[in-house]
């Protein structure tokens, strides 16, 4: 039967993964290349096998084969084909298989790349990637198997889940499945989990390279860093996309007008991103100045460890969260894996510390090196604050016995100032020269952006003065505009220099400038995207308004300069087996009609779960976000609405898109980049002979 085939494919994949890891190490230690080659081939076969497994599960979901326990769990007849396929990652077993499959994809990709100067690292890269993969396949195979089926015991009338037919039981196929949790039946389901998983699993490759470099004693050289940087960029890019998509999805669906809840699992996604960003910047110092080799290893190990930590708490339920999967028995084995990974990498790093010594010299405290280091400190400070806040409830319960909640107010107050400092640094940091920045020159570069940002802030202050005289908000606005203007000014200066020297017009100059320095100007675009997102955050955080009230037909609810007039309510059945109650309301701004909004409340009959679907009026200035909270049960004369006014929120999404475009530009390598060398001139004897190129 098809699912037995799936099980066997999974089993063979597991065996091959274990073999591959072992053969890689064995081949390297005994210098027998054929074992390393064999390990490499095994890794490719594992990917093929896992692809087969994934396809089988998708088939089961598409064909609504309810005999398979997983299919009965996450899909139902009412769900569309599209949703059924995304249900592959809707439950614990399927998502674990999906995770393993993605990791095997990365492993296969790294196997088939050209190994040139880093050939020595390959066996150990295989060891780490396949070893980790073997663990995840093992979890899927032995503990949380998507191919388990349902059996019925005629004697006790019990339904049992098992891989093989238990004695005396018969095949059981329910009429219909449970279906995906209604909150997951959304377009975001197709984007958010896959991109996030690509992000998380992708980090295993740079981690494997770091470990391999440590083991082979080559961690002091630059080669592995260069290779690692590309893979980290890919993983980081996808994680960024995943985070933005997750936020947008939450905003659309969760019904409280927010995009980030500081939930433990959301935090677990954020932390690798933070350290990954620190790594991407810090690597530039190693490339340019040969410094911070130890630190970069620490960062990459930390990034991967945090991603493993994230998936650990998601799947084992040690911290309560809205995102957690249903509990399974994988806690203890997962914990051992976590312990081995963390302690093992730490021990290895300390053992090989001597291979990582670098010459650290600093010309001036006012230099790009210092700026980068300060930035790293800030990122790590934020990571620590988030980490601490996430695990503190556990510590508190352990020590005092009382359960506490560490919620958004904590995270916002503690990380807010740090993020603000980062935004400031992001704006002015690129102005710093390597080695030593002349203060006068810095002042000159900052003059116009500073003046511009001051003007913007003053205008904003007067525009909002009657309603919101928040000094903190204005400070935030000033910071964001300073960062944005400084970055834009860089574009202007660069383009102007080209105009003057090459005689091109502005747009051609700008185009050439960006094309020839993709990494740099892609980076600036990313910074611009961040500034836009920061603007959205400031607007939403400080200037948000809300109101809730009950109104009868024809009556209105008012908030800020908006009025919502209730027109009526109607009820009808919808797709997916839900009953919909929909309100019609007219939105007015400053007395003028804007549009008709239809917030609704869907009730999923099978799951007995209501889902609130907001109606939103979006402009760059603000979102008016309307929810239908309740209605009178006798007649339909009155309804309760909740209205949020979220100023500048769309800048978060626009900024996110800009951010991603910038990353794509920066990551786009070409022959040009490889040839364009950046010379490091160090008046140290001998070094000149081997000028390091980037």
């Amino acid at each position: 039967m098809l699912y037995d085939l799936g099980y066997f494919a999974l089993l063979i994949a597991f065996i091959l993964a274990v073999y591959s890891a072992a053969a890689g190490v064995f081949g390297a230690q005994t210098k027998r290349l054929q074992f390393v080659e064999s390990a490499r081939n095994a890794a490719l076969v594992v990917f093929v096998l896992l692809t087969l497994c994934v396809l089988i599960v998708i088939y089961g979901l598409a064909m609504l084969d309810f005999n398979v326990a997983y299919v009965a769990d996450v899909s139902s007849r009412a769900m569309s084909l599209f949703l059924r396929v995304t249900a592959l990652w809707g439950g614990q077993q399927g998502s674990l298989l999906f995770w393993a499959w993605m990791m095997s994809g990365f492993a296969a990709a790294v196997m088939i790349r050209k190994w040139r100067r880093d050939r020595e690292l390959m066996p150990y890269v295989i060891f780490v990637t396949m070893g980790t993969l073997a663990f995840f396949i093992g979890l899927t195979l032995f503990i949380s198997n998507p191919f388990a089926r349902l059996w019925h015991d005629p004697l006790t009338d019990e339904i049992v889940t098992a891989l093989w037919p238990p004695k005396g039981m018969m095949v059981f196929t329910p009429q219909d499945g449970q279906g995906l949790n209604p909150l997951l039946r959304h377009f975001g389901m197709i984007g958010h989990p896959p991109t996030t998983y690509v992000g998380f699993t992708g980090f295993v490759i740079p981690f494997a390279f770091a470990i391999a470099a440590l083991i082979t004693g080559k961690a002091g050289e630059d080669e592995w860093i260069r290779t690692t940087r590309r893979w980290t960029l890919v993983a980081w890019l996808f994680l960024s996309i995943g985070l933005v998509l997750g936020g947008r999805w939450a905003y659309d669906v969760l019904g409280w007008g927010g995009y980030w809840g500081w939930d433990p699992i959301e935090n677990a996604m954020l932390m690798p991103w933070l350290t990954g960003t620190a790594f991407l910047h810090s690597v530039m110092i190693q490339e340019k100045r040969g410094m911070l080799k130890v630190w970069n290893i620490v960062l990459i190990i930390l990034t991967y460890s945090l991603s493993i930590f994230g998936t650990f708490i998601t799947r084992t339920g040690v911290v309560g969260s809205v995102h957690a999967f249903s509990k399974s028995a994988m806690g203890p084995s997962f914990l051992i894996f976590v312990a081995v990974t963390f302690l093992g990498s730490l021990a290895l790093m300390f053992k090989r510390l001597d291979t990582l010594k670098s010459d650290h010299e600093l010309d001036s405290l006012l230099s790009r090196e210092s700026a980068f280091l300060l930035q790293n400190l800030l990122f790590l400070g934020i990571t620590f604050a988030v980490f601490w806040g996430t695990i503190f409830p556990m510590i508190s319960e352990l020590v005092t016995g009382t359960k506490i909640t560490v919620g958004p107010p904590f995270f916002k107050q503690v990380t807010g100032p740090l993020f603000a400092a980062l935004v400031l640094l992001m704006g002015i940091g690129p102005l710093f020269a390597w080695r030593k920045q002349a203060t006068a020159k810095l002042g000159k570069s900052l003059l116009i952006p500073f003046a511009g940002s001051a003007i913007v802030t003053i205008i904003a202050a007067f525009a909002h003065w009657p309603r919101h005289p928040f000094p903190l908000a204005l400070f935030g606005l000033w910071l964001v505009s300073l960062a944005a203007l400084t970055t834009l000014f860089e574009f202007w200066r660069g383009a102007r220099a080209r105009m003057q020297s090459q005689g091109e017009n502005f747009f051609v100059a700008l185009g050439h400038l960006m094309w020839r320095n993709r990494r740099r100007y892609g980076g600036y675009i990313i910074h611009l995207g961040v500034a836009m997102m920061a603007l959205g955050v400031v607007g939403d955080e400080f200037f948000k308004a809300e109101t809730q009230g009950t109104v009868g037909v024809g009556e209105s609810l008012a908030v800020e300069n908006y009025t919502l007039r209730f027109n009526g309510l109607r009820q009808y059945p919808g797709s997916d087996g839900r009953e919909i109650v929909e309100a019609s309301a007219s939105l007015y701004r400053d007395g003028e009609f804007v549009m008709t909004l239809k917030p609704r409340r869907d009730f999923f009959v099978t799951q007995q779960q209501p889902v609130t679907v907001p109606a939103v009026y979006s402009t760059p200035g603000a979102d008016v976000y309307v929810l239908l909270v309740g209605w009178e049960d006798i007649g339909r004369d009155a309804s309760t609405f909740k209205i949020y006014v979220n100023p500048l929120i769309n800048w978060v999404w626009a900024g996110g898109i800009t951010f991603i475009i910038g990353t794509l530009i920066a990551a786009w390598s070409s022959l040009d980049d490889k040839r364009a060398a950046s010379y490091v001139i160090q008046p140290v004897v001998g070094q000149a002979a081997s000028l390091s190129k980037v």
Binding site: A385, I404, T550, A638
Partner: protein
């Protein structure tokens, strides 16, 4: 089939019961007042859900409780304190700044401060090394081949 219909009707009926019974909006406390207090609290049952947005029946009961207490003249703080006594400290959205939980606040702040100090020390140490290296002139500017220097001059002229 009939069972399904009956079940769905029951479910719909239940959904109506589960929806908030609407109160006449006659002044204090308005929904906004209730939400102002509910915002500072978390649902004692559902994980990580603020009380003003949680939609379960239990949360609706709690918001009704808040409304009754506000109407009876309790202050915001009194209502919150009552909730903490009744349901435990985990209903507070923000951990207290006293007792053991103060630890959650000051450790991050302290570690960033320590980090800054450590960073300053490290940077100063590097600067000292640099000065020492400069003081011991082992620099050989002639190490750089002249063609490279020429090209450098050209590139620098281009971009400055």
């Amino acid at each position: 089939m009939t069972r399904k219909i009956v079940l769905s009707l029951l479910a719909i009926a239940a959904s109506f019961m589960a929806v908030a019974v609407v109160y006449a909006q006659s002044g204090y406390p308005t929904d906004d007042d209730v939400n102002r207090v509910a915002k500072q609290l978390y649902c004692p049952v559902c994980p990580n859900t603020p009380l003003d947005v949680c939609e379960t029946k239990a949360c609706q009961d709690w918001r009704a409780d808040i409304r009754d207490k506000l109407a009876a003249g309790w202050t915001d703080d009194q209502v919150i304190e009552y909730f903490v006594q009744r349901y435990g400290e985990r209903v507070l959205a923000e951990p207290r700044r006293s007792g053991f939980t103060s630890f959650v606040w000051f450790l991050p702040i302290v570690s960033v401060a320590i980090g800054l100090v450590v960073l300053a020390q490290i940077l100063r140490g590097w600067k000292a090394k640099r000065r020492a290296a400069v003081a011991a002139p082992t620099a050989q500017a002639d190490d750089i081949p002249p063609e490279v220097l020429q090209r450098l001059e050209k590139e620098l002229k281009k971009i400055s």
